[in-house]
């Protein structure tokens, strides 16, 4: 551990197995204070297991942990007291109101009662739920419940916010609102955020990403740096028979074409010169659309691991 500027949270060689299957094989990470740190990977990459270990739910088979440079045992009370946790599965008591759920969370973290009342009112107002504070959470929509979950994780003003796929099931508007809130908290309170995600658009919002594949970190850098690992551009060709078309592009044009999400993808530098070649190579009507785009984090994940982020994500959804 560097003595000068210790990471807010550091882990080293964290391992976990489930029977004979290795779920995490020696994960080491450093999360700096005030950064938004993403654990990116499809289902089965081990990120939810890592989340459970960070949340103190699961004891790791091996690994060392540091909080602000001080070594702590796995799942230590110091970490649990400093963290706000947002679970992927619902973590609220549906029979209780939003206000009661928050009040219980505040009591558990020993927030003084008057202070808790003030914070709960402010958090629920901020979530746009002030007028429904006394309704059972069971009656809320998915997006509203997510906002209550976030508010509950924040009621004790944690230094660390740890979230497992926090925006699963949210529509575009709710997704945007959720992230606006998280980034505002980071800006205003210096909150450190650790989250797991399989969504490229969510990963884009992180300062740094640990790319998880098969229970190991294969890269750990900013989204820009990860995208830069894919050379050039991505040409996406939509057609009725993508597999046949990909085979033909490979054979006739000698290009590395592969099918993802029902469309043919070709990664190439100077992709714009490729577009006319592909269009001219096939008769009219064979192709539905040809587009050119910058590589996304999904492309970067594929390039790094050879596995697709989206395919597993679709299975999960």
């Amino acid at each position: 551990m560097p003595a000068a500027a210790p990471a807010r949270l550091a882990l080293k060689d964290v391992a976990f197995h489930h029977g004979a299957r290795e779920v995490l094989r020696g994960v080491s990470l450093e999360v700096r204070a005030g950064e938004v740190f993403g654990l990116l990977g499809p289902n089965g990459a081990g990120k939810s297991t890592l989340f459970s270990i960070l949340a103190g739910l699961l004891p790791p088979a091996a690994g060392r942990f540091w909080l602000d440079g001080r070594e702590i045992p796995a799942g230590a009370r110091a970490l649990r007291a400093a963290s706000g946790i947002v679970f992927q599965s619902p973590g609220l008591d549906g029979k209780l109101s939003a206000e009661e759920n928050l009040r219980l969370a505040a009591a558990m973290h020993r927030v003084p009662r008057a202070e808790a009342r003030r914070r709960i009112a402010a958090l629920l107002a901020g979530a746009g739920l002030a007028d429904r504070a006394r309704e059972p959470v069971d009656r809320f929509s998915g997006g509203m419940r997510r906002r209550v979950e976030l508010a509950r994780a924040l009621v004790h003003r944690p230094a660390l916010l740890v979230m497992d796929e926090p925006t699963t099931g949210l529509d575009a508007g709710a997704f945007q609102a959720f992230w606006d809130e998280v980034l505002a908290l980071r800006r205003d309170q210096g909150l450190t955020v650790v989250l797991t995600t399989h969504r490229p658009d969510e990963a884009e919002r992180c300062d740094r990403l640990a790319v998880l594949s098969g229970g190991a970190v294969v890269a750990c850098e900013s989204p820009e740096a990860l995208r830069a690992r894919v050379p050039g551009d991505v040409v996406v060709v939509e057609a009725d028979a993508p597999d046949a078309l990909a085979a033909e592009i490979r054979a006739r044009l000698g290009l590395p074409a592969r099918v993802r999400d029902g469309a043919v993808h070709v990664e190439r530098e100077a992709g714009h010169t490729l577009v006319p070649r592909i269009v001219e190579a096939f008769p009219a009507g064979r192709l539905r659309a040809v587009s050119l785009r910058r590589p996304t984090l999904a492309d970067a994940y594929l390039a790094l691991t050879g596995a697709s982020l989206e395919d597993a994500a679709e299975v999960a959804a």
Binding site: P59, S89, K95, L96, R110, R187, R208, E221
Partner: protein, 288 residues
Amino acid sequence: MSPARAEPAPRAAPPAGAAPAAPLPAPGPALAYDVATALVLWRRDLVRFFRQPSRLAGALGQPLIFWFVIGSGMSGTFRMAGSGTGYLAYFFPGVVLMVVLFASIFTTLSVIEDRHRGFLQGVLAGPGSRASLVAGKTLGSASVALSQAALFLLLAPAAGFPYGAIDWPLLVAALALAAVGLAALGFAVAWFIDNVQGYHAVQMTLLVPLWVISGAMFPVPADRPGFAAAMRWNPVSYAVSAARRALAGPDAPGALPGSAARDLAVLAAFAAIALAAAVLSTRRAPRA
């Protein structure tokens, strides 16, 4: 960490103008967190119970029907040797314990669902210890059980036990210890079994027979030593026995030989062992 520290990646440090990350506050004393967590869980079970009128109605209706239907059916054939006690009066303390038993089973059931999808996840990830989780959940469950028993005990005069003649401290102590023990046992089973069907199967084959052979429904057959031994090792027997003494005096018909103090001592030992088992069970990692 200072935002000015040079980082290889441009976005690795917080953006300019961001608030500096506050240093971590020192966590408070461990015991204070544990007490806070236990109180939260306790309060939650009680709030949930009193908010659901159907549960309140069921809590009173089910044992009432049970007591009256079985009690009336048996009263013709039952005769307590050497006493004029009718079956409805004999059965009443047994039904009180049945109320406690079933309430403990049902309130600890939530441990299974709740810890993978629900409120208990947040408690496990919170600053309290697992022992405080056991304490809070057991207290909550026992309080619900006692509340249900209290509702049913409103009928005591109808069974021939006027309120003024009841030894309330003894009754409350016996029922509270039994409720804590049974709830903690339920917690340990719930944590270990980890699925609702399995939990019901285990509880129904473990706890219901304990109640049946506790002297709740019929007295110890003096001519069957095996039966008598099973009853002597059954903690529920002592709860039923103490309840009988509380309702009908130290020499109540059907009470075990011995004193009320002995009954309570056995129940306290049972509660302590069950609590220890529940705390130990939480050391086991839940299935991922």
